[in-house]
């Protein structure tokens, strides 16, 4: 067990990508009650577009910003043109779910058509290795984790200290009350979809910068992000982040010490057990009916 710190560190590094995806899912869900299954594919598409730009000479920092903007705007467009026209109500929520799954499949196929099925090679943002508390980590992963943590801090700041962020929390708690005091639900929805898909692009960008990318770039991380979301509670941003990091660590620990082949089974088995005891997750609120 001498390598436990390394295994945990590695788990936290992958957990930071899951946490960004998980936060994206929760921010979007809280604003429009929609689970956006297309979030991973939207982010992947943005990253494929920007890696092409990077190959043409765009510096990595600019490419990252570009990826966030592309994914964010794509998310906004998804909400505006595919989700909003469905209207409110439980029937349309189910339709919205199917719409996002369909959109994800379409984007996935488009990526395959444009870039082919073989992985494209992506240059790491930085090369080299650094030892942190005796654990060797690639500089690339450290930068990825640092930026992920900075993005999460920025989101925490936005939701805690800005008026629009507080309005987004208010709207998540009670859509109707927010609307009658004059908070524009359309603004909240657009912003939430922008932020949600934008931070997913940060995760996708660094997943790609690990070496290569194909259309399935976010597939496995998104599964783990969803696991983290359900572990933390679908309505809690903090819970989603904590849940996602937990999954990252569990995944690595299970893969290293139990069985590399059954890591998925073990991790998801633990989640099922946790949810059996606490159905709303670590920090999720029991869902209330809204008028």
């Amino acid at each position: 067990m001498g390598d436990l710190p390394a295994v945990i560190a590695s788990g936290l590094v992958s957990g930071s990508a899951y946490a960004l995806l998980a936060l994206g899912i929760v921010i979007i869900f809280r604003s429009t009650d929609t689970v956006n299954f297309a979030i991973g594919d939207t982010a992947t598409l943005a990253v494929f577009l920007t890696t092409s730009a990077m190959a043409a000479g765009l510096p990595p920092a600019a490419a990252l910003v570009l990826a966030v903007l592309i994914a964010g705007l794509a998310g906004m467009a998804t909400e505006r043109f595919l989700i909003r026209p469905l209207g409110a109500g439980h029937k349309s929520l189910f339709i919205a779910l199917v719409v996002t799954i369909g959109l994800g499949l379409i984007i996935h196929a488009v990526i395959g058509v444009i870039w082919g099925q073989r992985p494209i090679v992506v240059a790491p943002v930085a090369t080299g290795t650094v030892r942190v508390f005796g654990v060797a980590l690639t500089l690339n992963k450290i930068i990825a984790t640092g930026i992920a943590l900075a993005a999460m801090a920025a989101i925490a700041w936005l939701f805690r200290f800005t008026a629009i962020g507080v309005a987004m929390r208010a709207s998540a708690e009670d859509h109707f009350a927010a609307r009658i005091i004059g908070i524009r639900p359309t603004v909240i929805a657009s912003l939430a979809w922008f932020i949600g898909c934008g931070i997913a692009a940060i995760a996708a960008f660094f997943l790609a910068a690990d070496g290569s990318a194909n259309a399935n770039l976010t597939l496995s991380p998104l599964f783990r992000a969803f696991a983290g979301v359900f572990l933390g509670g679908l309505t809690s941003m903090l819970g989603a982040a904590v849940g996602a990091f937990t999954i990252g660590v569990l995944d690595n620990v299970a893969g290293r010490y139990l069985s590399a082949n059954y890591r998925d089974t073990i991790v998801f088995g633990i989640i099922v057990a946790v949810l059996f005891i606490r159905p709303s997750g670590f920090l999720g609120a029991a869902r209330k009916e809204r008028v």
Partner: protein
């Protein structure tokens, strides 16, 4: 309370159906600027629906909503009439329980489009009206406050929008009698500053101690409208509505 030209808010021949079920039928009520009006009636009479319609929070299935004599029916159903100076405290108050007192109040101004400096000014003013427990608990989650404190925060949040008209659904609901008086005293004070106030109240006797006009609503229809000072009207209210209720 009929079609006088000075009405600030007026519902004209309003009908409302929820999925086919008639909640309001041919309701016409109005309130002149600066008045304190109570719409009284039993549970399920249509008070809350009428409050939502007058606030522009929902659009009536038929009839018109007039604000300062102008037809605003088309504007209803989205963000209400917040920017036009109408604030609603809906049934159950609908405060954001997980947010702090400060955040709830700030949102009242934000929703009405106030800037940062203006919000700070209003905040200082509104805290002046709040009971000490609320003033000292600015950073407490609203859900942890008592019912009376929450009602004051709800009024505060509405005032943060600098409304000309405040509509309050069941201000007395779930409150001890002493707190009900406190709430009504605050509303009366508000009215003194020129704000038009309308309450939708089951507790008719309490409301009539404070208001100057009232209307009785029953089964989605207005049964009577009059001045609170009119002894005949009060008597009629006692016989017709309170009698049946209090028996």
């Amino acid at each position: 309370m009929s079609q006088d030209a000075t009405s600030m808010i007026e519902a004209a021949g309003v009908e409302h159906r929820y999925e086919g079920v008639l909640a309001l039928h041919d309701v016409s009520v109005s309130a002149p600027a600066g008045s304190f009006t109570a719409i009284v009636g039993p549970n399920g009479a249509g008070k809350s629906t009428l409050a939502l319609i007058l606030a522009g929070a929902i659009r009536p299935t038929a009839g018109r909503l007039l604000l300062d004599g102008a037809d605003v029916t088309e504007r209803a159903g989205r963000r209400g009439l917040v920017e036009a100076g109408v604030a609603l405290i809906p049934e159950g108050r609908r405060l954001f329980g997980q947010l702090t007192v400060d955040e709830n109040l700030t949102l009242g101004a934000f929703g009405a489009g106030a800037g940062r400096a203006e919000t700070a000014r209003r905040l200082a003013e509104v805290y002046g009206l709040m009971p000490e427990a609320v003033r000292k608990g600015k950073d407490r989650a609203v859900a942890t406050l008592s019912g009376g404190e929450q009602q004051m925060v709800a009024i505060g949040r509405a005032l943060m929008a600098r409304p000309r008209l405040v509509l309050i659904d069941e201000p007395s609901l779930g409150l001890a009698p002493i707190l009900i008086d406190k709430v009504y005293e605050t509303l009366a004070m508000l009215r003194q500053t020129g704000v038009t106030v309308m309450v939708f109240e089951q507790l008719a006797v309490k409301a009539l101690q404070y208001v100057d006009r009232f209307a009785v609503i029953e089964r989605g229809q207005i049964r009577h409208q009059g001045l609170a000072s009119d002894p005949d009207a009060r008597e009629m209210l006692r016989m017709g509505y309170m009698g049946a209720e209090a028996a």
